[in-house]
Symmetry: none
Subunit: 224 residues, 2 copies
């Protein structure tokens, strides 16, 4: 899952990134509105953390721009001020949640996963597809009650498949989802093969069926 952190306080950002990395999120940082705009244009994030006070403008202004493009989904406002005005304004502009500085990282984490759950999995905490069970808050996958030991990429990949089940996803979109950095072009998509192979192996070795079908020349489809 990819998160954009729009925040200029370096120290805070450092802590957030470290913590969220341990929670298996891929983070990108935009220290100002300008960078944020550029990144949001070129990529779709699962969750956006938006600080209100930024060096080159107000975060709520940025949020307002996003609203026009219907891109406010998944935005969590972060503000140092405990101002009711900011809160209401932010939520009115379509933000999903609101966090007041200083906050606990565990609370941040809880809100992020809540937002993502709401967006992608209609609020469900547990997702079941035949023999497959995914515990979203716990980030654990089971097959027939048996816990799978997946790496971060494998988990991300599986989640990406599940949230696009029965649809063909291109290798490029998979690559974008899995890669941490925001490269536009991938000179080499081979690393996908490895992750798909490993995921398939772990799924089948645990007794599951192989739902990941390759669609020649198109990409892959998770059939269920």
């Amino acid at each position: 899952m990819k998160i954009l952190i729009i925040e200029d306080q370096q120290e805070l950002v450092k802590n957030m990134v470290r913590y969220l990395n341990t929670e298996s999120y891929l983070c990108e940082v935009a220290p100002d509105c300008e960078t944020a705009r550029r990144k949001i244009e070129s990529f779709e994030y699962d969750c956006i953390l938006l600080d209100v006070t930024l060096p080159d403008g107000n975060g709520l202004t940025l949020l307002n721009e996003l609203k026009k493009d219907n891109k406010t989904d998944g935005v969590i406002i972060i503000s140092a001020k405990n101002s009711i005005y900011d809160r209401i304004e932010g939520l009115n502009l379509g933000a999903d949640d609101y966090l007041v500085k200083p906050f606990h990282l565990s609370e941040l984490n809880a809100r992020i996963s809540a937002v993502i759950r709401r967006r992608k999995f209609s609020g469900q905490k547990l997702m079941t597809l035949n023999e497959l069970t995914i515990d979203l808050p716990g980030k654990v996958v089971f097959i027939y009650k048996k816990k799978l030991d997946l790496t971060r990429k494998e988990y991300d990949l599986l989640l990406f498949f599940v949230s696009n089940k029965n649809k063909v996803v291109s290798k490029n979109s998979i690559a974008e989802h899995l890669s941490g950095s925001d490269m536009d072009v991938f000179d080499n998509l081979d690393f996908i093969y490895t992750h798909i192979k490993n995921l398939k192996r772990k799924l089948t070795q645990a007794g599951g069926s192989d739902n990941i079908k390759s669609v020649y020349g198109m990409g892959y489809k998770f059939e269920v």
Copy 2:
């Protein structure tokens, strides 16, 4: 572990429950004395958080009732007033600890686990695990009758390990136990390494076996 929260401020309760849930406590809420009485009668909680100001009476009155039934064990008083009277009164009535609003959730957590820890060991004064002997009231540790010279943190750490023996404890939970927990966020968990290293050294140098095993990426486990 089950916790009863006797508190009428909904917003606060919501935050406490959410936080304590992430700490894998099970929470029940009583918004007034009446509900609290009923719940305490029908169930035994590992810890009770008791607000002093409640809509239908004073929390200390409730505590007094509990004292008559010897049920004050594990009670943490919560008060908005920083009143010495309340504090002394509460502790006199048998409360285990006292917390002044507003407080950090991490501090609340630390105190709850402290109370639970205290209660867990309350029956025994001496705890023996193979060559290891812990004199709980005296806070002294022996290996083969040989007294270990542990610092406070080292002792706390050992106790935490012992009370979670054969279970993996995360570094985060260790950090929360060891710290006075005024910190919002642990930007650095390295101090744990030092204490673990020193504890291990003291244990082995005294002739004990090294029971503290690291579980890569998970934390540590005290095997016995």
